[in-house]
Amino acid sequence: MASTLKIPSPLRRFTNGDASINVNENSIREVLNELFSKYPDIKKHLMEDDDKLRNFVNIFINGENIRQKEGLNTQVNNKSDIRIIPSIAGGVSDLTQEELIRYSRHLSLPEVGIAGQKKIKASKVLVVGVGGLGSPVSLYLAAAGVGTIGLVDFDVVDVSNLQRQVLFGIDQKDKSKIQSAKERLNNLNPLTMYNLHEVALSSENALNIIKDYDIVIDGTDNFPTRYLVNDACVLLGKPNVYGSIYRFDGQVSIFNYNKGPCYRCLYPSPPPPGLVPSCAEGGVLGVLPGIIGTLQANEALKIILNIGNLMVNRFLLFDALAMEFSELKIVKDNNCVVCGTNPTITKLIDYKQFCGISKEEDDKLEIDEISVYELDSILRKGKTPLILDVREEHEVKIAKIEGTIHIPMKEVENRLDELDSNGEIIVHCKSGARSAKICKLLMKHKYKDVKNLKGGILEWSKNIDPKISQY
C-alpha cells in the first residue's frame, strides 16, 4: 500500500493545488526525490544547496519528527502518514521600539544595521578622564547607544574647564565631574548604563576597574596615568584608544589591538618631568579636544562594529593652525618591555616614580603655607616680603597682585641669583599647585624661609581683593 505525503498550503502553489501525493519509496530522501521530480519548483523551498533539509522545515512521519529519528534516512513503511510541516515561529526584534526609533539613522546604514546596533548595545567602554577629551567621547558614545559606559575621574568642575569640557555648565561649578557627567549623559541617552569610578586611577585599582570593559579610551592629561592605562590594557588584552592634545596639536591612535603596537612601543620612557608642560601651563585651543575626542569615539565605534580601517599601526597628527592631518606608520616593538616577546613588566608598577615624580622625595619636603588672610595682614602692617609669582606671562596680564616679582616657573631654576636665599620668600601661582613645586625647588637649593600662598591668586581675589579678575 502506498503512503501519503501531505503538502502544506503555502506550497500547494507548486503542486497545482494538490494537498497530498501518494508515494511508494522506502526512505524519506527517496520520497522527497519523488516529489521533486514531479514538482521541481518546490525543492528550493525545502532543501539547502547541499541537499540538507532547511532548518525551518519539519518532516513528520506518523506524528514523529524525522530529526528525532534518522533524518532523511528514516524508513517509510506502508500506509505511513508523511507531513511537511513549516516550523512556525517568530518574535520581536532584539531592539525595543524606542531603540529602533532612536537609532534609525544607524539602522539605515548597511554597515551598522540591527546587527551592528546590537553590538553597540552590548559593548562596554571605559573613559579614563572626563575632561576635554572625555567630554566629546562620552557624549558621542552615549548618543550612539553604547550599552555600558564607565567614567573615571575624581576632580570637580572648575570654571576654567568650561572653555573646552562641553559636558559641563556653570551650574556644575565645584560639583563632582562624573556625577555631573552622568546627569548630562543620562539626559542624552537614558538607555545607556553609566558606571561611575570616582577615584584616581592607580596601580592598585586599574586592573580591577578596566577588566570589566571591552575598550578603554585614554583621555588622561598626564604621563603617569597614560603609562598606567597603557600597561593595564596590555596586561588585560584590551584595546586602548589613545588621544592627546597640547596647544594646537592633537594625536590619535589605537594601541594594543590586532597585534599592533602599544604606547610604550612608541615611547619606551616618559619625557623628563617638567619638559612637557600641562594644558594648564601651556594652554590648549578649546575646540581641539572636541576634534580629537570625536575621532577617538569614531575609532571606538569602528572597533565595536568591526568595520573600516582602524588607526592600528597608524598614528594621526592634527595641526589645528595649519589645518593639516598627517599620519605616521608605527609598528610593534618586539623588544617592548610590556607587549614584546619577552616582557619584563608583567604587573603594574609605580608610575609616578617611573615618570620621575618621586613620591618619597616629595613627601620628605614639607612646605610651609601661608593663607591669603595672613599675607594680607602682613602687608597691612607695612612689611614687604618678597612675593614670587611663578605663573606664565599671559596669566600675569589677566590678573596680578601688586608688588610681586614675576619669574615664570620654567625660568626659576636659571634665575636663582635674583632671589635672596636668606630672606623670606612667598611663592604664588593661580591655585597653589605650581607654586608648591617651586617652593620645593627653592628648598632644595637651600632657601630657608619659603612659603606657599595657599589657594593662589584665585583665593586672593575671592577673599581679599575682588577687583582682581578670576580666570
Partner: protein, 160 residues
C-alpha cells in the same frame, strides 16, 4: 522609521498582494493579542488563496509553546499545525495567514521573523503596547526569502 522598513520590508506599490478580512476576524486576533500580553500571542487564519489575493474566513487562536521567552518569541507546535491543516482541508479551506503579536514592539517583522517565515503565507503582526493594540500590518515574504513585502489589508463587514 521609514529607513528601517527598507531593510526588512518593501512597499510593492501597485503589485501589492491583498488579504481580505472581516472586522470580526480582526477583532478576534486583536483581542487575543491583548489578552496574552505581556506575552506574544499566535494564531492562524483559515481561508482561500486566489491569484494575488487571499480571503480569510476564520481566526484560530493557538498556544504559544515557547517556554523560555514568551514575551519575545512565539512557537507553534507542529502537531497543532498538522491538526489545523487537516481541519482546514476537511472544510475546503487553507491556512492562509500566521498572526502574531509584538508586545511593546512595532508591527514590523524582525530579522528573527524573516528567518522563520515561509513565502506563500501572509504574516499579520500586531503591536500591543502596554496591553493595548496600537496597529497591525500584513506582510509576505518574497520568493528569495530576502525581505518582507507589505500587503494590503481590505476589511469588509461580512461576506455576501
Amino acid at each position: 522609521m521609514i529607513q528601517v522598513n527598507v531593510i526588512l520590508a518593501q512597499d510593492f506599490g501597485i503589485n501589492m498582494t491583498e488579504i481580505v478580512l472581516t472586522q470580526d476576524i480582526i477583532n478576534s486576533f486583536l483581542k487575543h493579542g491583548e489578552e496574552e500580553y505581556p506575552f506574544e500571542c499566535c494564531g492562524f487564519i483559515l481561508g482561500h488563496f486566489f491569484d494575488r489575493k487571499s480571503v480569510g474566513i476564520e481566526y484560530i487562536a493557538v498556544t504559544n509553546t515557547n517556554e523560555e521567552n514568551k514575551d519575545r518569541r512565539f512557537l507553534i507546535d507542529p502537531i497543532v499545525y498538522q491538526d489545523t491543516e487537516d481541519m482546514a482541508d476537511e472544510n475546503g479551506l487553507s491556512i492562509i495567514c500566521i498572526v502574531h503579536s509584538h508586545p511593546n514592539h512595532p508591527d514590523r517583522p524582525s530579522e528573527f521573523d524573516r528567518n522563520h517565515a515561509w513565502p506563500g503565507f501572509s504574516y499579520i503582526i500586531m503591536s500591543i503596547n502596554k496591553g493595548v493594540y496600537t496597529c497591525y500590518r500584513s506582510w509576505k515574504l518574497n520568493e528569495d526569502r530576502t525581505k518582507f513585502i507589505k500587503e494590503k489589508i481590505t476589511i469588509i463587514k461580512e461576506y455576501a
